[in-house]
Structure formats: C-alpha cells, structure tokens
C-alpha cells in the first residue's frame, strides 16, 4: 500500500516526500474541485516538474460534483486539462460523470489516468463496473464502506487491473456521504450567525456542549444515551470519523490488497500535513511489520491494540 498526500503549496512537496508520501494530489481554483485549499494556478506546471523530480506521481482533483459550465467555459476547462495532460500530469480525479465521459472514449482519451473521486461514491461492484467503462484506472472508495462490503468491488478491480484507494480513518471521515450532501453550506437553511469557515460541519462547538438530550426512552437501551449524544454531535460538527471506519477496518483493507492510503485535508497547515503523512507512514509500517511477522488474526489483534493506544497525534 502506498501513500497519497494532498498539497496546496510547492514548498510542501519535498517535506511531504520525506515524511513518506509516494504520490501527490492537489486542486486549483480555476477548475471545478471539491472542498477548499487550493494551489495557485500558476504553480501547477512547476508542481508537475517538482513532483517528477522527486520521483513521485502527481494528480489533479477536478472533482466538484457541481460543475456548471456554459459551452464556452467548458471548452476552456477542457483546453486547460488537455494542456496539463501534455505537461505531464499523471492523473485527474473526477467525480461528475459528464466530465468523465468528456475525457474517455475513442479520440477523447487523455494520456493521464482517470481516478474516480469518492465524491462520486461507489458502494457496490455494479457501480464499479459501470464506471470502469469510462476508462477509470483507480477507484477512490467512500469512507462509509466497510471492507466486508467492499469485497466484491476489490475483486472486480483486481480482475480488471484497477487500483483502489482508501482514506486514513483518523484524519478524514464525515458521517455524511460526500457528493450527496447539502449540509456544509447554508444554501437551503438560514444561519443564526456566521460560523467557522462558513461551513456548518466545522461549527465551533465543544464536545458535549451541543446536544441537550436528557433521556433515552428506548426499552433496555437507556445506557446508550452518551454514545447516542456523541454520534449526534459528530453528525453536526464534523467531529469524527463515521462508525464504519476504524483500526480494524483499515487493517482489513490493507490485507485485502487496497493499493493506496490517502490523506486529503488540503486546508491543513503545511506542518500539520507533514506530521499527518508521518502518521500514515507509521501506521502503514506497523501493518506491514505485523502482517509480515505473524499469522493474520494475531497481526490484526496486535495492530488494533497498538492503534487503540494512538493518542490522536496532537492535532
């Protein structure tokens, strides 16, 4: 398993490579991309050169599901992407199917690879089969998918030579489904006051302070109230990874042969990015060491035990 790291500044590339990143990806404001944290457009060409000089591949996220464009604007987007393709961009991460179709098929195919973003979430092998027809060479799996549920997807991808990528459960994991969520911004509701980064998910609520729920009136389940309160808070504050993602889930994906582990919080500060990639590298090294030195079940137990002691990294 290799590590894919985001970056949003040229200066971040060398330290991230040193911390353990095997591949890079970024996004620019001039092209439709999901979330925040952009590399200045003028730095894209130098970034390709620098990543390659470091011996690493580089991908560009053009993965906004909302990609409104007049025909004139779309022509400009296409021209820019084909120019970057010629410059040596290794892959484009895409979510909207119409953009995927624009760059696949006879006569339209890019030299670069096409990766299906988790913003176009695939939860079943039928969906995976659907998108592989558009020349996708890598599937970035949504983090609300368990390794058990992903077995057929992984098998299909293995048979077709398609790579798979998962997120580090510790640093990414909204409870809601990316690409199907309108919670982030007050497009349909009214805010009482301004919130952090204009983004509801990052509401600055202290743990334990948001949900006022005194009793749980469910037969035999009253003791679950604190856990339920915690879940509700996580849902409305971006306060933690969804419950399907944990240490055991990562290990099972690792053993199943998922190819890439992603860290993708582009708006993190440069030093935080480097530290987090170091954490990914440490977790991966541990999984490699344990799985290479003991039977699978024993390695899994030891891995989970070790990760349960992880202190959060101080982020």
């Amino acid at each position: 398993m290799k590590i894919v790291s985001c970056f949003s500044s040229l200066k971040e590339l060398a330290p991230l490579a040193e911390a353990g990143a095997d591949e890079f990806y970024t996004a620019v404001e001039g092209l439709p991309a999901f979330s925040v944290g952009f590399l200045p457009d003028r730095d894209l060409a130098p970034a390709i050169k620098k990543a390659h000089a470091l011996g690493k591949k580089i991908a560009l996220a053009v993965n906004a599901i909302h990609a409104p464009a007049t025909d004139k604007r779309l022509a400009a987007i296409e021209k820019r992407i084909r120019a970057l393709d010629k410059l040596g961009m290794d892959a484009f991460i895409i979510s909207n199917p119409y953009l995927l179709a624009l760059f696949s098929g006879r006569g339209k195919r890019l030299r670069a690879e096409l990766h299906l973003s988790s913003v176009q979430p695939v939860f079943n092998s039928l969906g995976a089969a659907f998108f592989t027809r558009f020349g996708v060479s890598r599937l970035i799996l949504p983090n609300q998918l368990s390794p058990h549920e992903a077995r057929k997807i992984l098998a299909l991808c293995g048979a077709k030579g398609i790579e798979t990528e998962i997120f580090d459960y510790r640093f990414f994991g909204c409870a809601y489904i990316n690409g199907r969520c309108h919670m982030h911004k007050p497009d349909h509701y009214t805010l009482k006051s301004a919130i952090l980064e204009g983004n509801l998910c990052r509401i600055n609520a202290k743990p334990g302070g948001l949900v006022k729920l005194g009793t749980l009136d469910l037969p035999g389940r009253a003791k679950e109230l604190p856990a339920l309160v915690n879940r509700l808070e996580n849902r409305f504050t971006c306060g933690g990874s969804p419950r399907l993602s944990n240490a055991a889930a990562f290990f099972d994906f690792f053993i199943s042969g998922a190819h890439y582990l992603k860290y993708g919080t582009r708006h993190d500060r440069p030093e935080v990015k480097v530290k987090k990639v170091g954490e990914l590298r440490a977790m991966l090294s541990l999984a490699e060491k344990l799985s290479g030195s003991m039977p699978k079940a024993e390695a899994r137990r030891a891995f989970v035990k070790e990760l349960s002691r992880w202190n959060g990294g101080g982020f």
Binding site: P97, N124, R231, A248, L307
Partner: protein
C-alpha cells in the same frame, strides 16, 4: 402540459394507509404512487411488487423508488427487479404504467443487466450530477450532463421543493448546450433531503476499534418515527428520519401550474412524511 400528481408513501405500507383511513382519499387524489425506499437499502422489500400490482389494478401509475445500495442492497434489489419481471410476464403489472427511480449508478447497471422494460428516472440522491439547486436557482450544469443520462435512457430527474420559486437557466439552454425539451422534472414537497449518511442514530451502534462491520445495522427506527432537531446555528428545524436529514418547506411554492411548467416540472409528488 398536464401536471401529474403523485403520492410518496415513504415507510408507510398500503396496509397501514388503509388502516389509517387514508387510502380512499389517496386513490381519489393522486394518479401515481411512489413506493419503496428512497434512501435506505435495509428497507428494500419485494412485497412492494404486490402493492404495485394492486394499485395498477385500480388504475394507478407507479414509480418504484430505489435507494443507494451496497452489495447487500444490490442483492435485495435484484430480487425485486426479478419479481417485477415475473409480474410483467404474468400480466399482473403493465410495464408502461411503472417507472423505476434510481439513486445509485449500480442500480442503473442492475436495471440494464435485468433488461427491465420500465422507464428509469434519476432520483434525488443523483440530482447533483446534473443540477445545481443550491441558493435560489436550479440550473443544469451543462448539456453534456443531460446527454450522459439520456444515453442511459433517463430524461426525468427528481428534485425537492426549495420553498421558493427558483430561478432556472433553462431558457439559456443554448449557452449551456441543452434544449429544455430534452428533460422533465418531478418535484417533491414539502421536504427537501439535505444530506444522507449510511448509519442511523439508534440502529447503528458504535463500532469498537477491533470490529470491522459486515454492514449497516438497522433498528427500523425510521418506520415509526422521525427526530426533530433544533440546531444551535440554524433557524429552521431539521428533521432526521433514518439515515437522512430533511428540511420542511410548508409554504406554497408556486402560483400556478403554468409557473411549474416554466420550470419543466410536470409532476408534483406529495410526501406526507420526511
């Protein structure tokens, strides 16, 4: 353009509608019934085929809603599709009077593999692939987005009311590479699906670090209740039913059926529950 009126039963069965005394009024008031789960695969149930046949027998048209699916949901949906095909073969269901709404590209693939003889619609969880309905407008991204779905046989798209009459870019279709006659819209009211997760508040308990789950547990909480949430940062009340958070827009959002036609809406679907 005649406006068709539909009723989305949600988690309510026809039997429950009958017990509540609402079945006769529903049969009188609505031409099309929306059956099946729109958001959760745990509720997929082949008994919906019997309901569809019964309603068709009373002159009603049907739209079968299907949710986002994992491998488990794909298996359940496959059974429903195969049962529908049998019902068509035996003459119990008229394929011309039944549509299937998909909310997952895997469901489109499954429908194609089963060679379903039904018209497919793109559901509310797929709307962002074609439309931007954030803010006060509903706009088509580009004609290529419509073309992508048209080539899959899909020209009807489902949206929720925004509580206002939104601006649309349909008259400027030429600049965006589309013709407004190429698609039609179904509008659900009064609830807008704001976001969806896979794990329900009560049904899916916390997973300990040593456990890697086989799937999403279910306590069927959505069948009996929804939760109302007063968020400290939001003026409106949020409604949580099962795995989806909704907003309610109770006010009338259109002045006339002509106004809806200008938005390409030729079908309104009333959802009594979120």
């Amino acid at each position: 353009m005649a406006l068709e009126k539909g009723l989305r039963l949600g988690t309510m069965t026809l039997e429950a509608l009958k017990s509540s005394g609402g079945l006769d009024a529903a049969l009188k008031g609505f031409e099309r019934f929306y059956l099946g789960p729109e958001f959760c695969e745990n509720l997929i149930d082949a008994s919906v085929c019997g309901e569809a046949a019964w309603l068709q027998g009373r002159g009603k048209k049907i739209c079968l809603l299907t949710p986002l699916i994992s491998e488990k949901g794909a298996g359940l949906l496959d059974k429903v599709f195969k049962k529908l095909l049998k019902s068509v073969e035996s003459g119990k269901i008229d394929p011309a009077g039944l549509e299937v709404t998909v909310n997952d590209f895997g469901a489109i693939e499954l429908a194609k593999r089963n060679r379903l003889p039904f018209r497919l619609n793109a559901g509310r969880l797929l709307r962002d692939n074609v439309f931007d309905d954030t803010g006060r407008a509903v706009t088509v991204h580009n004609g290529l987005a419509l073309k992508f779905f048209r080539e899959l046989g899909i020209t009807r798209f489902e949206l929720s009311t925004l509580g206002i009459r939104p601006d649309v870019n349909f008259a400027k279709g030429a600049a965006f590479g589309f013709d407004r006659r190429d698609f039609s819209l179904t509008l659900y009211y009064p609830y807008l699906n704001l976001t969806t997760t896979r794990t329900c508040l009560v049904g899916m308990r916390d997973v300990p670090p040593e456990e890697s789950v086989r799937g999403v547990d279910c306590a069927r909480e959505c069948v009996i209740s929804s939760f109302e949430l007063a968020h400290p940062s939001i003026k409106e009340k949020l409604l949580i039913r099962g795995n989806t958070v909704f907003l309610k827009f109770p006010d009338k959002f259109y002045a006339s059926e002509k106004g809806l036609a200008r938005m390409n809406v030729d079908r309104l679907v009333y959802a009594p529950f979120p």
